[in-house]
Symmetry: C2
Subunit: 259 residues, 2 copies
């Protein structure tokens, strides 16, 4: 029997160390194809490229070690998944892994995340998909704890599957493995990015704006959220789905609106 | 008392006819500020620009008629909302309107939509926000039915408000107003984009890929979805929320996983 086929992608680009860490996880369970963005695509969410064409570049042999074929794509993380599914894979992969992201994708950040959009795209094809993020923004963090925990989660999903169109948003605290207390299955915390723009002037007198912000957990007391888990030494897993309907609001609108 | 202040944006860009239609709706209820992308940003979802700076261009006087101040931004639809909130508005707007989009944003398309991401971003600030889309992709469709229905929906939201962090995804069928049977409050239909890439070769022998696809409604019998409403002559309203947690899957994972 052939070993499972894993498609690995990310949003930090083909050169990111986190992608190498994810390939390490994927190799432990199966054969690996990498299709990742040529450049950094943080904060690209579920963006797709339809008004421009896409190109693929085959990455040099052994870039990710023996037997791993890899391509860089000049589009977004979701483009990578779509192009791999439509053009590079002869059959369906058994799993899609996205990350390991350099930085958190917990709480409301999931909405902006290219890492999680790629995983969600995989789930829309009916393929069990997992996005993994480490709560460390630096270029060269220690991915060993994330690899260890990631392997366990991948095995659980291989064995038990995932509900149709649901993928997993996994976040790992940036602490040594010995200090990580375990893995918690959570809901997405209600949180807010408090943001502003740093206004600057270029050498030619033109005005420009850089986004900067700070995350706030709006429900620090709630113990069933990803934010609580991460603040208390646990890795968090939030199952996420593409149905964005607010069913509670449907009921209210039907009752109150006269239209 | 001052009239309400409406922020209008879109994803088809500052020159799109749909944005003029939205300004028409906004003018009926209040004062209007327009901040929209300089270029077309379809399919940009919730993408934000944080690794590059943003610039703003003040649009010529009276471009949207008297008393409407307008800016073009070189970022995404969500960037437009963030930059307007942080830099251009002195207070909070009373409502954010996004669109009118040239083309549908029903069912799973909401996940890819820049129009709806801008509305959702508004709701994250706690501002009642509405995205409106017309099921017509052409440059110059008849927006009169959308304007008529849009005004009614905007008035309802002005009167009744919206649940915190919930915004409305409004889609309008491309038929004459006299044939539109009414407005239905719906859930997001389960649908799929069946896609492939058209493989082409450029004049220099390089390979490139264009995305093309076809939408399929996976539950055509269900009568409570946006797709059903739109196929049966109704405008659809789906309230959408930023919490992507699959609560059903939380229960199953807690029961079945050993980790």
């Amino acid at each position: 029997m052939q070993r499972p086929l894993i498609l690995a992608t990310n949003d930090d680009g083909i050169r990111a160390k986190g992608l190498r860490a994810m390939v390490n996880i994927a190799k432990a369970v199966g054969r690996v194809l990498v299709v990742a963005p040529e450049k950094v695509h943080s904060g690209q969410s579920h963006a797709i490229t339809s008004t421009m064409p896409l190109r693929l570049r085959k990455v040099e042999e052994n870039y990710f070690g023996e037997d791993v074929e890899a391509y860089a794509c000049d589009g977004t993380p979701v483009d990578c998944v779509k192009l791999a599914m439509a053009h590079l894979l002869s059959g369906r992969p058994d799993m899609i892994l996205s990350g390991i992201n350099h930085g958190s994708n917990s709480s409301i950040s999931v909405v902006y995340s290219g890492t999680m959009a790629a995983a969600q795209e995989g789930s829309l094809y009916g393929i069990p998909s997992i996005g993994i993020s480490l709560l460390d923004w630096i270029d060269n963090p220690d991915f060993a704890p994330s690899i260890s925990i990631g392997k366990k989660i991948v095995l659980q999903v291989m064995q038990n599957g995932l509900r149709h169109e649901v993928c997993l948003n996994v976040n790992i605290p940036a602490i040594p493995l010995s200090e990580i207390k375990g893995v918690k299955i959570c809901r997405q915390a209600n949180g807010t990015w408090i943001e502003d723009y740093d206004r600057r002037v270029d050498p030619h007198g033109g005005e420009y704006f850089w986004l900067r912000g700070k995350f706030v957990n709006n429900e620090p007391e709630a113990q069933d959220t990803d934010e609580w888990a991460l603040s208390n030494g646990y890795a968090s897993i939030v199952p996420i789905q593409p149905d964005m309907t607010s069913y509670a609001e449907i009921d209210r609108l039907k009752l109150e609106w006269k239209i």
